[in-house]
């Protein structure tokens, strides 16, 4: 147990308690969006090296979705927000 995430609800916990969903900057397109947009949303992902925002689900803790901003290279964590709050603040949107 090494990589630690500070959950705003539960405190500092190891990554084993979480499930990582990936890119938190991508928003679901409207149902009417063209197929290319949907294709991009469902299948195409960057694999950034460095600072990145990801959805983390605290499965074995509070079971809340979180937005974790961290460095994918060094695992330095810059911030953890409840996804609902992040959405409200417009943070998860690129």
């Amino acid at each position: 147990m090494a990589s630690l995430i500070s959950c705003p609800h539960c405190g500092t916990r190891p990554k084993e308690e979480f499930s990582i969903k990936g890119d938190a900057t991508r928003m679901r397109p409207s149902p009417q969006a063209p197929a290319e947009v949907w294709h991009k949303f469902v299948f195409i992902r960057d694999n950034p090296k460095g600072r990145h925002k990801e959805f983390w689900h605290h499965v074995l803790g509070c079971r809340r979705w979180l937005v974790v901003e961290r460095d994918t290279l060094t695992h330095e964590v810059y911030g953890v927000t409840d996804a609902q709050q992040a959405l409200k603040a417009g943070e998860a949107v690129e």
Partner: protein, 180 residues
Amino acid sequence: MNGPFMLRHALDGAVSANPARGVNHVEILADPLVISISARPATVARVKERLAGEEGLRFSGPAEWLVVAPRHDAIRVKSLTEAMGADALVADQSGGRVVLRLSGPAARAILAKLTPLDLHPDVFGEGQSANAFFGHVGVNLARLEGDVFELVLMRSFALFAFEELLEMGLEFGLTAGFAT
């Protein structure tokens, strides 16, 4: 105990009928009460206020709690449901959970092998509770008093978690049995 699956305890047959009781002991509650309470986003503050001081209250998430008691009590389920009204969803989870009580001077050392939670009394004091990793499954862990901890587990994971607990307690002579 024979009979229908739902009436059987998940840990039936996992311990001997007349177990020895050592200083480090895990007690299985035969028929505990576990209620989950989930507040609506708009009513979290109100529900929290109403639940303050409720006996056996356990923190589960920012809008979610458990109420745990040693004996199942249908009247308590009903009265909590009525007290919460439309502000929160109250569900009797007793049939789906297994409740254990771990006690003894080595309780913390045993738990340290299973959960990443910091259980130092300065950080995790009496009456405190948390959802956490336990072996490979989830647990709601509470400190009832000094060396007494309560574990609420999913019924289907309970045997695994229980056997894991016994194995980790082996070096401390951990004993186990149903509560009498």
